[in-house]
């Protein structure tokens, strides 16, 4: 915790919107409890809206980038450059008939997509956009995300089973197998970062990388871990080249085959929210989170301002949000490019890669990190 403490002293307390909001509400004559109650839903709603808007942007990017890869124009007529196309997609799904197949299991069929979406949204709890700009700095931080993401395969198995369709069942089973296989190297890659930060909290992990701007980001100290994490995150999101659970040529659409309307939209939302979430977590774990490539303290010092001045705090706070989102969308861009350039792997190749390659490499990475941490505590977190 010592590194986090010293880093905190450098960064300063940052914006604390909660205390400002509650004190403003108390200024209006409300009691402290009521002010707190009014505050509680605000960050949750904000993050929920941010997640959904993130998906809309993502869908638009996917359409535009795939078009560019294939030398097409892509959506053009809905709004400038087709920016309203995702809205049109969403509205279309909203108005579609909600079909439940006659011999399907209605209850499980409805519950499946919900179980896929809810853990993904819950995981946004720990994504920090600034020192105090996250819903809750829970102590178990990134471990919460790993635990929650392990609920998802149950929803996939559920919808695969309930559809009463062989393609759906195969897709559900494949999704569960894939998810279990890639969770282990993913967790080991995270563990190496956690070992260097001495904390599971996402805020502490970012603070530990904030010493010297871009040079202190974890990607330089954990290049192997970064690659393992990114591959596993793509596999967990079921993105190409790992989209076997919904491989069109083999399984029609996997566990989504029987779904239509809003239930399908829940899967769609879930997968895109998960992609943005994974990109955000890569940014947090390996790319310095909300940190600017040059430390803002140096910049503020260069123009002779204190980091604690209100205006400087406002600017650094906004810069932090912009940097987090920018890094995340850079990774999303890479993910989309990968999707439209790489072929799909086979199921045996997928499982071989997970168990026989990534898992041993992740273990070695963990061991090497532990050794380096003991040998050079100054660079690898004492």
């Amino acid at each position: 915790m010592s590194t986090a403490g010293s880093a905190l002293a450098v960064v300063g307390p940052g914006l604390d919107l909660q205390s400002s909001f509650t004190s403003a509400m108390e200024g209006f004559g409300l009691s402290q409890g009521t002010a707190h109650l009014l505050w509680l839903p605000l960050p949750m709603l904000l993050v929920l809206v941010a997640a959904v808007i993130g998906v809309l942007v993502n869908v638009w990017l996917e359409r535009k980038i795939s078009a560019a890869v294939q030398q097409r124009i892509g959506p053009e007529y809905a709004g400038a450059l087709g920016v309203l196309q995702p809205m049109a997609d969403g509205l279309k799904l909203l108005f579609k008939e909600d079909v439940i197949p006659r011999r399907a299991d209605g209850l499980l069929f409805t519950l499946g997509p919900v179980l896929v979406l809810v853990p993904v949204i819950l995981s946004w709890l720990v994504v920090p956009f600034g020192q105090n700009l996250l819903i809750s700095d829970v102590g178990i931080g990134v471990f919460l995300w790993i635990a929650l993401s392990s609920i998802q395969p149950i929803g996939l198995l559920m919808s695969g089973y309930a559809s009463n369709n062989k393609y759906s069942l195969l897709g559900g089973l494949r999704a569960a197998a894939q998810s279990i296989s890639y969770e282990i190297p993913l967790a080991l890659a995270v563990l190496a970062v956690v070992m260097m930060s001495n904390s599971l909290s996402t805020v502490d992990i970012v603070n530990q990388q904030s010493g010297a701007g871009i040079l202190s980001w974890n990607i330089w100290r954990q290049p192997v871990g970064f690659l393992i994490f990114w591959i596993c995150a793509l596999a967990e999101c079921e993105r190409l080249p790992f989209d076997l659970p919904e491989a069109e040529e083999e399984l029609v659409a996997g566990y989504q085959t029987e779904y239509a309307g809003m239930k399908f939209a829940l899967f769609y939302l879930g997968s895109y929210i998960n992609l943005v979430l994974s990109a955000l977590l890569v940014a947090v774990l390996y790319l310095g989170g909300w940190g600017f490539p040059i430390p803002v303290e140096w910049l503020a010092g260069a123009i002779g301002q204190s980091v604690d001045a209100p205006l400087v705090q406002l600017i650094t706070g906004s810069l932090g949000i912009v940097m987090t989102v920018l890094k995340a969308y850079l990774l999303v861009f890479i993910a989309i490019l990968l999707r439209w350039t790489l072929p799909r792997v086979r199921i045996d190749q997928l499982l071989d890669l997970g168990w026989k390659f990534l898992l041993p490499i992740a273990l070695v990475n963990l061991l090497v990190t532990a050794g380096l941490k003991l040998a050079f505590p100054a660079f690898f977190g004492g």
Binding site: L37, I140, F143, L144, M158, K166, L169
Partner: protein
């Protein structure tokens, strides 16, 4: 009562209800797939109760291990081998049910008695909050080192056993009897899981 304590009470009641009703469902429901899914709900509500006891690390570990690994594997196994077959009529089924119900009730009464007679310390020890992961680690590598290592050896044994059982075709002779492995046992005809069965469906499960 403050907002926090009311929320806590509501959460406790809801979690306990899901826990009790869910566990009863796991035991009593005839459909094994429903039981397995309800088991996930039971594990999740146990994790919720841990969370209410300020044991957030244990709660997350509960979700990761029990819901994410154990329950998914149970579901996996059920969906791969589930057979839609009628159970043979067992004579005296009602008597068996009454007897097992009586045994369960007796156990419940015993536990209830222990619960009522034990002088519980109220309030309990102070929560460790975020240090719990650290302390669990320290204990695992000091005074609980032997149980920890024994558990890992046990898991290794279970894993090797599972591999030996599953790959009998590779070990060309039966491990126990020393005779050639009975391929007929391995290639059992499997009945499909889905309701409507068509001719081509035996290849279905092999594709996974």
């Amino acid at each position: 009562m403050t907002i926090a304590s009311v929320t806590q009470l509501i959460c406790f009641v809801v979690l306990s209800l899901t826990l009790v009703v869910g566990s009863l469902g796991v035991v009593l429901l005839p459909n094994i797939v429903y039981s397995a899914f309800l088991l996930a709900g039971v594990f999740l509500s146990v994790a919720g109760l841990y969370l209410m006891l300020n044991a957030s690390f244990v709660a997350a570990a509960q979700v990761l291990v029990y819901v994410g690994a154990v329950n998914v594997l149970i579901l996996f196994a059920i969906m791969l081998v589930n057979k839609k077959e009628e159970m043979a009529e067992i004579p005296g089924l009602l008597l068996r049910r009454v007897l097992s119900g009586a045994v369960c009730l007796g156990l419940f009464l015993l536990i209830l008695r222990v619960d009522l007679t034990t002088p519980w310390a109220v309030p309990g020890p102070a929560p460790l909050a975020d240090d719990s992961a650290l302390l669990i680690g320290i204990h695992l590598f000091s005074d609980y080192l032997l149980p920890f290592e024994l558990a890992s050896v046990l898991l290794l044994m279970a894993m090797i056993g599972a591999i030996v059982l599953a790959r009998r075709d590779v070990f060309s002779s039966d491990v126990i009897t020393g005779e050639a492995a009975d391929q007929g046992l391995l290639e059992k005809e499997r009945t499909p899981l889905l309701l409507e069965s068509t001719a081509g469906e035996t290849t279905l499960l092999e594709k996974v």
